[in-house]
Symmetry: C2
Subunit: 82 residues, 2 copies
């Protein structure tokens, strides 16, 4: 089995995990129950993961965490706007 | 620089990202704005990451995703209870 494929699949699933949250937030325009610190801390951590992926030349880690950072930046922006 | 240390730090930060959300949920007893699918999908994806970490013998990936899965299982349980 190709482990890179497993990593890419894992990355695709975790990245898409934030999408239902973004859709729900966009539809309800309510994100009161979401802690401000969750996206903030996740953005910091995922930026480090991204760096880790770059250092290890691991494409799965790079892609998953780039998408993760983008989703959480969007979540943070939505939280600020609504 | 030791990349394993970077991975461990990244893992510690992303894992702790869910803690403020758990604390907030526990205090307010309200998780209505949280999409049910976010923890569900993250648990599936992080389980695959865990497998990926085991296959690559990457301790940072293993620890981060074990804690991540636990936090999201707890979040899911809280969402079901409240």
């Amino acid at each position: 089995m190709d482990w890179m494929l497993l990593g890419l699949l894992a990355g695709a699933i975790t990245s898409s995990g934030f999408i239902p949250q973004l859709v729900r937030g966009f539809r309800t325009k309510k994100l009161d129950d979401i802690s401000l610190y969750m996206p903030l801390v996740l953005i910091s951590g995922m930026t480090l993961w991204l760096l880790y992926g770059i250092m290890l030349h691991d494409i799965s880690i790079m892609i998953a965490n780039s998408v993760g950072v983008s989703c959480n930046l969007l979540l943070l922006t939505m939280k600020k706007i609504y």
